[in-house]
Structures are given as C-alpha cells and as structure tokens.
C-alpha cells in the first residue's frame, strides 16, 4: 500500500507529518478513541502505573550511571559520592532504590488483578505470557541492580543467587564460572552485571510494547470478565481513562514520595551499608522483600536441585496458567469457590514471604513447606479440577446492562449507565 496516509488532522504541521508517518493517527486510535470497557475499577490503573514506574527507573538510572563506578574498589564509595556530593544525587538514588520496590508492589497488584478477574484466559493467553516474561526480566534486572552498590548484601546476594545454577548436574559449575567470569563474585561479575542492568530495562520496554500491542488487539478484560458486545459497553480511552489513570498516578506518587523522603531505607537492609567483604558472610542474609516468597520455596526443599527447580517452577508455572484453569468464566465475581481459593493462594504467598524473612528453623520450615505445597496445588490440581466442578453464577447480559441476580456480584444499579448515544 504505497502512497501517503490520508490524515484527518486539521493542524497543517501535524497533517504534514501524519500523512508521511501516521503516528498521530496511531496515537489517536490507540490512546484517544480506543474503545475501553466502561466498568474498570481502580485495579485497572496498575498497568499504566507500572509503565510509568519503568520510565522513572530508566530515567533515574541513566543519571546514576553518569556517576557510578562499576569497579569493586570504587563502587561502594561512588554510590556514597552520589549520595553526598552530586547535586540531588541522594534524591535520584533514593528514587531509584525505592522505585524498585514500588515497581514490584505495582506489578504484584497488577498480576493479582489478572488472576482475580481471569485476564489470562482466552483470547489473552499470549498477553499474559508476555506479562510473565516482563516479570522474569524485572526480577533479573532488580537482582543485578541490587549488586551494584557493592555492599555486604549485594555481594552475598550475588553469590547465593548465582550459586543456584550450580545445582544443575554436569554443566552447573561451568555455568556459575561463566556467570562470574572468575572463581568467585568479583570485578568481572560486577562489570557484566552493570552492563546487563543497563541493557535489560530497554529490553523490558520492548516486551512492554508487545504486551500493550497484544492488549490492543484483544481489548481489555474488565471486572465482569464478559466480552464487549456493543458500543454502549465502552468508552473512549481519552478522556475517561486518561483522567482516571491520572488520579491513580497521583496517589501512587504520594506513596512513592512518602517512602523516598521520609523512610528511604525502610525496605533496605543495614548490612548493605557495609562494603562487600568476600571473607565474611553477614549473620542474617535475606533477599529484598520482593524475592522473599521464592526464597522461602527454595529453602523449603531439603534437596538442592529440587529446591532450585521448585523455585524457578513457581514462576514458570504461570506460563501455562491459561491452560491449567479450565473454567470458562473469567471474573472471580461469578466463581464462588475460586473467589475464596484465590485468597487462600494469596495468603500462602504472603505467608511464604514471611517465612523467607525468618531463619529456616522450627515452625517456619513447616509453614514454608505447607505453603509451597499449596502454591503448586492451587495451580496444578485445584484450578484444573475446579473448572469442571464449580457452578458459576449466571453472567450478566452485557457490561452496559448487567442483570442483577441474587448472589451475583453485578455492578451497583447506579453504574448501569444510559446509552452513550443520548448525545
């Protein structure tokens, strides 16, 4: 289809560009008039928030990299140089440091929303799988970023996590040596982690783009989990959801600012204020909070290889979730049993996080084993069977005309809006 694009924009400059490269038409189509289900709740803010968070991380990271030294002799002091001498260095660094935690908070809520409202089900399987890829990339990026300040937790975190790969028979030790670029975590390791930590966020941007592109093909899920059936079911993205996302953005920034300005080290570990010492492991070695559940799964299994496999498996199982859940109903609102069980699963994950923060002794070992078991049970046994056994509640007729039935989680009557065509 050669030739110029037929642009509808009145502004001559925009028109000139748009006829040659229709980016304005694209933006208008994808973010202006894009038909979006009208019944989103505030859970649907979190995708946009995660995107904003990624941008904040990239922006602050670029400026941190201007002053950071990826060398074992200089790294720790260069971070303190940023904190003390660089203009607003402390602000940029604290935003970046706490931004990692905010990113995981936002993303975990975003994932929970997907689980609760069945956003992973057909036709959005690939959208979901791209999301899992994003999660994995985020984790790799966060892990390598945490190594860069070269404190005690950085060093020992890097040692423990890279040693996970030694669990694999035959090739394991070779992989670990390859990751390290030596025979322990040292300068080559720090250098390559810095390189990859700078690279991966841009890969993330690429996968996020695919994630959003796939979303705009299938259209968004919604709290009722039923398909959009008519124009009455949707609203143009702008201004309805741009403004709603802005409200969420302000609240999110407030939480973010409270952390950065008033409790910047609340989520950190005191040990990371001690420069890395390869000869002395800290008494309590704990990963950052967002890794605690996986850490607990790892430790709950007495066998090294099995523990590593269980830990990675707990994430990889998410890839096949769309096929493990056999129920055709998306939203938990209309699945009375799933609606209870998803919270049991959430409770198990949170309990795993708590276990991960404790020394693996006594009750914590038992609890982490029970929760690990339930984690897998939920995905591998309960979801496939539940889909066959559970009797879902009757679904509403459409988003714009939800039929109120007894026991159903339909919208409040006020939300049954008048048709848009009234104008």
């Amino acid at each position: 289809m050669a030739g110029l694009h037929k642009s509808e924009f009145a502004n001559p400059v925009i028109n000139w560009i748009d006829t040659r490269l229709p980016i304005f038409t694209m933006m208008q189509k994808e973010y202006g008039v894009f038909p979006t289900p009208r019944n989103f709740n505030y859970f649907w803010n979190f995708g946009a928030l995660a995107t904003v968070n990624l941008l904040i991380m990239i922006l602050t990271g670029i400026f941190l990299a201007m002053n950071y030294q990826p060398n074992t002799l200089l790294a720790f002091d260069s971070v303190q140089h940023i904190m003390r001498d660089v203009n607003y260095g402390w602000l940029i660094r604290y935003v970046h440091q706490n931004g990692a935690s905010m990113f995981f908070i936002v993303t975990y809520i975003h994932i929970f929303r997907g689980l609760y409202y069945g956003s992973y089900k057909t036709p959005r399987e690939l959208l979901w799988m791209l999301g899992v890829v994003i999660l994995l990339l985020m984790m790799a990026t966060a892990f390598m970023g945490y190594v860069l300040p070269w404190g005690q937790m950085s060093y020992w975190g890097a040692t423990v996590i890279t040693n996970l790969f030694s669990a694999f028979p035959v090739v394991g030790p070779k992989i670990v040596t390859l990751l390290w670029g030596g025979f322990s975590v040292d300068n080559p390791t720090l250098n390559r982690f810095f390189s990859l930590h700078y690279l991966l966020p841009f890969v993330l941007v690429g996968v996020v783009f695919l994630h959003v592109a796939a979303l705009h093909i299938t259209g968004s899920n919604n709290p009722l989990g039923i398909d959009v059936k008519s124009p009455q079911d949707t609203l143009p993205f702008h201004p309805y959801y741009t403004v709603k996302d802005s409200v969420g953005l302000c609240v999110y920034l407030m939480v973010f600012a409270a952390l950065v300005f008033f409790a910047p080290n609340f989520l950190g570990d005191p040990n990371n204020f001690i420069p890395a010492n390869p000869l002395q492991t800290p008494a309590d070695i704990v990963p950052e909070w967002y890794f605690l559940p996986y850490y607990a799964i790892l430790r709950s299994v007495p066998n090294k290889l099995l523990g590593v496999c269980m830990m990675f498996g707990s994430l990889l199982v998410l890839f096949v979730l769309p096929w493990l859940d056999t129920s055709r109903v998306r939203s938990a609102r209309f699945r009375p049993i799933y609606r209870q069980l998803i919270f049991v699963w959430v409770a198990a994950v949170i309990a795993l996080g708590v276990c991960g923060a404790h020394k693996p002794q006594g009750i914590w070992v038992v609890l982490s084993r029970v929760c690990t078991l339930y984690y897998y049970l939920h995905f591998l046994v309960i979801l496939p069977i539940l889909g066959k056994l559970e009797r879902p509640l009757p679904l509403p007729e459409s988003i714009s005309n939800p039929v109120i039935r007894r026991g159903g989680g339909a919208l409040p009557a006020g939300a049954a809006a008048k048709p848009m065509e009234k104008v």
Binding site: A257, N265, A347, I350
Partner: protein
Amino acid sequence: MRPFRSLLAGIFAAGLLAAPAFAQEGEALPNEHWSFQSVFGTFDLAAAQRGFQIYSQVCSNCHSMHLLHYRDLSGIGLNPEQIKAVSAAVTVPQGVDDQGNPKEGPATPANQFRSPFPNEQAARSANNGAVPPDLSLIVNAREGGPNYVYGILTGYTDPPAGFKVQDGLYYNKMFPGHQIHMPPPLQNGSVDYTDGTSNALNQEAHDVVTFLSWAANPEMVERKQIGVRVILFLMFMTGLTYAVKRKVWSDVH
C-alpha cells in the same frame, strides 16, 4: 473494591507476623529521644558539634570516617573559617613531592577526614586483630540505628557471674555475643565541653551518636523539607485530578 480490601488486610496481617523477624534478639534497645527521629525532626546542631569534638578527640584515634570531608562540617553549622581552622590542625598525606616521596601537610576543607591507619593491615595489627569499622555510615549499618550505637557506647558493664570474658575482649551487654574488642571508649568526663553541657557518659554518647547520625544521612534535613512540599503538591494534584475525573465521568454515571 472487595478484593482490594482483603488484599490490604492480608498485607497488614503479614506485616504484623513479619515484624518479629526484624526485632533485635537479646538485650532490648535503649529508647533514647533523638532530635532527628520524627517526621519533621532535624539534627540538634549543638549536640552534633559536641559529638564532632568527641569524634576528633576520642573515636578518631582508631576509627576512620573516610566518606566525610572537612567541608561537609558546614552541615553541622560550622562556618568556613571554623572549617579551615579544624582542617588546618590535622596533618594528612598529600600525594608525593617532586622527588616522588610521600609528603604530608595540613589538611584543607576539601580533604577527607584523616584516617588513623594507612591501611587495613595496620589497623588490624594495632588493634589486637580487629579492624575498627569506618564510622561514616555506622548508624545506618546497624539494626537499631542510633539506639544501637548509643547502647554499645553505654553498654559496658561487669559480666554476669560465671560469664568468662576472653583476654583482650570486653563485656558489653548490647553487643551480639557480649564480647567486644573495643575498650570502653567513653567515660564520665572523657571530654571537656566548652558550652557548659554536662560531660556525663550518657550525654557524651548522645552527642556523638547525633553526630554519627548526621554523618550517615547528611541529606536528611533537606530531604524532609523537600518531602513535605512534594507531598503537599501531590495531595493538591490528587484532589484536582479527582475533581476533573468526577466532571469527566459525570455524563457516564
């Protein structure tokens, strides 16, 4: 928003459960009142300056503070003349002379705090095998922060009956394991204050911890000030965007 509420409740419950994990084992932390601990708290500059006096006269004989420069002392209220006087009184290494030999001279405000030992080995051999930790970040680097450091400084007591303290170590009730290499650094009257403040051990410890807390977080006052403005701005913006949202959505609901 039901799932939201349950989620919040769950996270709250988890926080309660997890809290003991981070609690200090053994001796309870002292609960000092610090000028800088509240949301709007700032550093008590007089206390910090007295603390710097203690650091200079006592701590700095063994402990380095290599992340600080004499110029940074403006943060505890010293003026440029005072800073020049402080630095000029200290002799620091100054690179090499024209023949390539190491040379020394009076420090300038741009110099790092003088380190008592040239390297780790020297520090170790001079201190019975234990390296005195650098104090630049010590308050951030210990669970319990200022209260813990205060607890160590005031925690030297006689060992309980039957507790065997090894030679060259000292009993400290706050230290994990209770045996510490550092001899009691402060006693009543270790320093003489010029401003008439009591030089009892508690006061000395309080002052030096105030100084060390500033040293670990010199940006804190500016951070809190900016933070208040940012939060107020964001509250305003939240209200504003919510009002716009209500208006925009008024023809839908």
